[in-house]
Symmetry: C2
């Protein structure tokens, strides 16, 4: 049975650790690929084209939009961010599950086009823990931390749009739970119609 890849959209509060979880997941299991976004913002020190992002000009980005080359895109603070379609579809066709880290608007755009995409929301064990993780980074001002928590409040209103939630208590456990969820999702009848129909044909031929 040829397994087709699935799009896994991962969202979650800033500080919930979704980036870390997805990096650990893709390092451990080879059947996942992390999608790389295109953006018009400048690379930050240490960022590399094709690794963190594809860094493109405004013109190139608008060309991608016009040619339907992005499966979702959004503008934040004067810059565009989007998910190149080709990378995603190449992976899906070769049986690789593609993980996209995007927020809720993008997640819903994806679900409209790819009915069998799975939406995952990563949560901290508690709000207190979230605040501590944000403060623990030591890189953000109080103002920024307050903005992130206030953004988390908004995002929490949309959780019911997601198919699964994952609580990031211990990194390893969380990675296993995400892998369990994706494994489960591959086992629904609608994702195995070919196998089911083969079985029916075989039973009729016995």
């Amino acid at each position: 049975m040829k397994r087709k890849g699935i799009i896994i959209v991962v969202s979650g509060f800033s500080g919930a650790g979704k980036g870390t979880v997805m990096k650990a997941l893709t390092a451990k299991y080879k059947n996942y690929a992390l999608s790389i976004s295109a953006t018009t913002r400048d690379p930050r020190p240490g960022e590399q084209n094709g690794r963190e992002y594809f860094f493109v000009s405004n013109e190139e980005f608008e060309k991608l939009i016009k040619e339907n080359g992005l499966i979702e895109h959004a503008g934040y603070v004067d810059h565009y961010y989007g998910t190149p379609r080709k990378f995603v579809e190449d992976k899906l066709n070769s049986g690789i599950d593609v993980i996209l880290e995007i927020e809720i608007q993008g997640a819903l755009q994806i679900k409209k086009q790819y009915k069998d995409a799975v939406l995952l929301f990563v949560m901290p064990p508690s709000a207190k823990e979230l605040e501590e993780r944000l403060r623990g980074r030591g890189t953000e001002t109080d103002e920024v931390i307050r903005q992130r928590l206030s953004r988390a409040k908004e995002e929490a209103e949309g959780i019911e749009n997601y198919d699964y939630i994952v609580i990031n208590d211990k990194l390893e456990d969380c990675v296993e739970r995400v892998n369990d969820i994706i494994t489960a999702v591959h086992n629904t009848p609608d994702r195995n119609l070919e196998f089911i129909n083969d079985m029916r044909r075989q039973l009729n031929e016995l």
Copy 2:
């Protein structure tokens, strides 16, 4: 977060090995209980009351039906079979997932009453393999084997009613896949509303 148990209904072709898979699953993981059916048929040699079945009289069975003491029941070849409600609900309330091995009619009866029950269909890797397993038992006549295969044909028509299918290729892998699926199912937003609402409250209080 107090975890509530979920009903897992398991069906599958005779010979697909669902009984073996469920026994191995409950032996390995302690958060599952196998439901024990009540029946009016006589015990077979080696069967024990309260282990394979609760063996009851016709009168007792009809009393159970009248008192709403069964969550599903059906008659086959002059005998009643049914699932006692009390055992199931006691387990669910103490956070244990309850596994019921029943066929499709019973499965659909359960799903009507327990909206969040999960229906699982166990399949052999191929029809050929199914036939070989049935013949390999060496206990069944050709006639019985043909009946089972013909029944499998009918059952195969209902697979789309199930939430998940599991292919029983290698016992250990299959057990893990079932466990993955049940783990995933515990992670849907509607089964974690208490946690989600707690998180919202906490975020508002920060």
